[in-house]
């Protein structure tokens, strides 16, 4: 059992949660993830580290309330426990010798962009961060990012309610055009990562994307998370989650992410009957 010791609501549907897990905290590195199972009947879901403390023995993750499992998770409070927390899983993000790098985070992906930007800055990179959300209410971790030694932090919203109105690819393209980038890292919705990779491709800026395919075990056993990278099948959990954004087949990734959408609606409907918060 893993005791919940921290919970913070970051926006209407986005929560940050911290659990006691000293062994995992001692090994966690930016870009890696956890598999979490709430209870006996729960599914195993992958959640990327947003923060951790080896000294204090905790790890944190951020999730958006979208389906039954994340809804149940959002109802747990400090003092409750999660049945299973497994990690750290996946290959850590490459942060060394990057030079000038843009870290792009969209939506809940900012939860991953934050520790990645921090690790890159600690490793000596000159890091610019671009974070995007539909509107100001959905922006997360702005204060935490401001506390990092960044070259700059650019905020983009679809409706202009915070920062620049537009898409994260706009400032990314400007930085590419100005020749300011040696590398880029993007994490967020698959469609956002696809367009970030498309933006940097013409400028030949190496771009890493942190993918979020469906997983079951998270250890390479099932192959649910397979993605095509440069025409080869890779497993998101053990070969990734980071891949060369210019080689990923995003259309396939997006199609595979939708495989259970009908079934998930069924589970959500069943769950909503017993839940006050309206799924």
């Amino acid at each position: 059992m893993f005791r919940i010791i921290h919970k913070r609501q970051l926006s209407d549907a986005v929560f940050e949660m911290g659990v006691e897990a000293p062994k995992i905290a001692a090994k966690a590195r930016a870009g890696q993830f956890l598999m979490v199972r709430i209870d006996e009947r729960g599914e195993r879901i992958p959640l990327t580290f947003s923060d951790w403390s080896a000294e204090e023995g905790w790890v944190r993750f951020i999730f958006m309330r979208v389906g039954k499992t994340t809804h149940s998770l959002s109802h747990l409070e400090v003092g409750d426990s999660l049945l299973d927390v497994v990690g750290p899983l996946g290959v850590p993000t490459h942060v060394d010798s990057l030079g000038r790098v843009a870290v792009v985070g969209g939506g809940v992906g900012v939860a991953v962009a934050y520790p990645v930007a921090r690790a890159m800055a600690e490793a000596g990179a000159k890091v610019s961060v671009i974070i995007g959300a539909r509107n100001n209410d959905l922006l997360i971790l702005e204060d935490e990012l401001r506390a990092l030694p960044l070259e700059r932090l650019i905020i983009v919203t679809d409706d202009g309610s915070a920062g620049i109105k537009g898409l994260v690819t706009h400032p990314l393209k400007e930085m590419c055009e100005a020749g300011e980038l040696d590398a880029a890292f993007a994490v967020g919705p698959a469609i956002m990562m696809k367009f970030c990779a498309a933006t940097t491709r013409e400028f030949e800026v190496p771009t890493t994307v942190s993918l979020n395919p469906i997983m079951v075990d998270g250890t390479g056993m099932c192959g649910a998370c397979r993605v095509s990278v440069g025409g080869e099948t890779k497993f998101g959990c053990v070969d990734g989650p980071d891949f060369d954004g210019h080689a990923v087949d995003f259309e396939e990734l997006m199609s595979r992410q939708r495989v259970y959408s009908d079934l998930e609606r069924e589970a959500d409907a069943e769950y909503a009957q017993g839940c006050q918060c309206h799924l």
Binding site: K23, I24, K27, R37, R41, G42, E43, R44, K68, T69, L83, D84, V85, V86, G87, P88, L89, V216, D217, T219, G220, M221, C222, G223, A224, R226, V227, S228, T233, V238, E252, S255, R256, R258, V259, Y260, L263, E264, E266, A267, E270, Y271
Partner: protein, 485 residues
């Protein structure tokens, strides 16, 4: 008929015991659920023998002076001895005889390929009716598990040695190794990456063939020996093998992590939605209980027409699971013929009885789909060549013989390979170029104090071979610990 040799039997019997007179007759069939009924439920197919049936079957045993059955057993169980115990009505002794060699009789009685091991070596095999050794083993295993934990057969333990051993993986190899180490007096801690112990016994083999209650009871008995199981721990990620030997203070390590990485078909379309590895399909259903969805949270795609590719036990398990999830048609695509199928014969018969349609001598060349979802498998007809020097007949494609099988789900059950995750952070551990651990026949690896056995050394094989390797390695570890530490 060979005379009964009492003195050779384990636990030398009193002289006044009546001579065993074998009965003649066919094998005692095991009662099983009706094929129609069972094809839609996950309950176990075979009910197992009653005491009367077990006795009647045991009475057929010749109690040979030279028991060839035992030589057919990969872990050398004294089969004549345990059948003799059934004949005498001393079931606890029968259990003890098996447990001397095999810690999981109720599991192995169900999943071992007896027809190609002990039963094929039985003298009566020539008559076509070998003793049903597997069913008798299951009978004894189950009779032990039916007892309260304190009354079950737990082998005697040697005095505590003070040595601590770490075991990577709680599948057949790891469980057998840990059980043996505990008996030899060492503290044994198993690290399991999933949330439940058992490895392939838990995520792979379905409820209808190996009920989870049986598995957990067997594991509970091992725990009574003092074996500790720590779940949710991925060795190579959370802790490395060198760290187990240093920071964590273990004196020796056994790697029994299995061959867990699924192999896909390598044909176009294999990443379409509706294409599963058997590992994923079975894990969703067995470990995550997707058959109870939405009461359990993990979904599984319930295909109407399901094509399973492969001819082993995993293929049979997948096909029969698909039927139980409500598939209208399940096809089994195999590139050789039923004759060459590596699956247990009983599973093949069960699959056929339940309605799985066998499409032999064909091999998928492409998976086709629409809007990202599978709509069919294009397969090529195959034919078998004349036997080569080893007697093996190779399947070759028949030119221009492609045809399409309409289906909405494809399950690839064509094998698994090594998952080298556990070797992260252990650069001194020698692996083959395919990621398997290099180990000698006793399990020693390139790292001092690190042993390995089971599928991670040999490639995918059987439960009993993995258990045998785990046990052999435990004995080698015992010698190494006592001699070099």
């Amino acid at each position: 008929m060979p005379p009964l040799d009492d003195t050779a039997r384990s636990g030398s019997a009193p002289a006044e015991r009546p001579r065993h007179k074998p009965t003649r007759g066919p094998r005692m069939p095991m009662p099983e659920r009706d094929a129609k009924e069972r094809a839609s439920i996950f309950d176990e197919v075979g009910y197992g023998y009653s005491s009367e049936m077990a006795l009647e079957e045991a009475m057929r045993c010749l109690q040979c002076k030279n028991p060839t059955c035992q030589t057919g057993c990969p872990v050398n169980i004294d089969i004549r001895g345990f059948i003799g115990a059934i004949i005498e009505g001393d079931h606890p002794r029968g259990v003890a005889v098996i447990k001397d060699r095999n810690a999981l009789p109720a599991v192995c009685g169900r999943v071992c390929p007896q027809e190609s091991q002990c039963e094929s070596a039985c003298v009566l095999a020539k008559t076509g009716s070998p003793i049903a050794i597997g069913r008798l083993e299951r009978f004894l295993g189950d009779s032990d598990l039916a007892c309260e934990l304190e009354r079950r057969c737990v082998p005697a333990k040697a005095p505590a040695s003070g040595f601590r051993c770490a075991i990577v993986g709680s599948g057949p190899a790891g469980l057998a190794c840990a059980g043996e180490l505990a008996q030899l007096g060492h503290a044994a801690t198993i690290f399991e990456s999933l949330h439940a112990p058992g490895g392939v016994l838990s995520y792979g083999i379905p409820e209808f063939r190996l009920p989870k209650d049986i598995l957990s009871a067997e594991i509970e008995t091992l725990s009574a020996l003092g074996v500790e199981i720590v779940t949710d721990t991925v060795v190579g990620q959370l802790v490395t093998i060198p760290e187990l030997l240093s920071e964590e203070g273990f004196d020796a390590v056994f790697i029994g992590s299995g061959a867990g990485l699924p192999v896909f078909l390598g044909v176009p379309g294999e990443n379409l939605n509706g294409v599963y590895s058997a590992n994923e399909f079975l894990t969703r259903v067995n470990l995550m209980r997707a058959y109870e969805f939405p009461k359990a949270d993990t979904p599984v795609w319930r295909g109407r027409k399901v094509a399973v590719v492969g001819g082993g036990n995993v293929a049979m398990d997948s096909a029969r699971t698909a039927l139980r999830l409500g598939a209208e048609e399940v096809f089994l695509i195999y590139r050789r013929t039923e004759e060459e199928m590596p699956a247990r014969k009983e599973e093949v018969h069960h699959a056929r009885d339940e309605g799985v349609e066998f499409k032999m001598l064909c091999s998928p060349v492409e998976i086709v789909g629409r809007d990202g979802f599978v709509t069919g498998v294009v397969a090529s007809r195959m034919e078998l060549t004349d036997p080569d020097e080893s007697g093996r007949r190779a399947p070759v494609c028949v030119m221009d013989s492609e045809f399409t099988i309409d289906c909405d789900t494809v399950i690839s059950a064509v094998g698994t390979r090594a998952n080298a995750l556990m070797a992260n952070g252990a650069p001194d551990l020698e692996l083959t170029n395919r990621g398997y651990v290099v180990a000698d026949e006793l399990g020693s690896t390139s790292m001092s104090g690190v042993f390995a056995g089971g599928d991670i050394v040999t490639g995918a094989a059987t439960v009993i071979l993995a258990m045998g390797a785990g046990k052999t390695a435990a004995q080698a570890m015992d010698r190494w610990l006592r001699e070099s530490r």
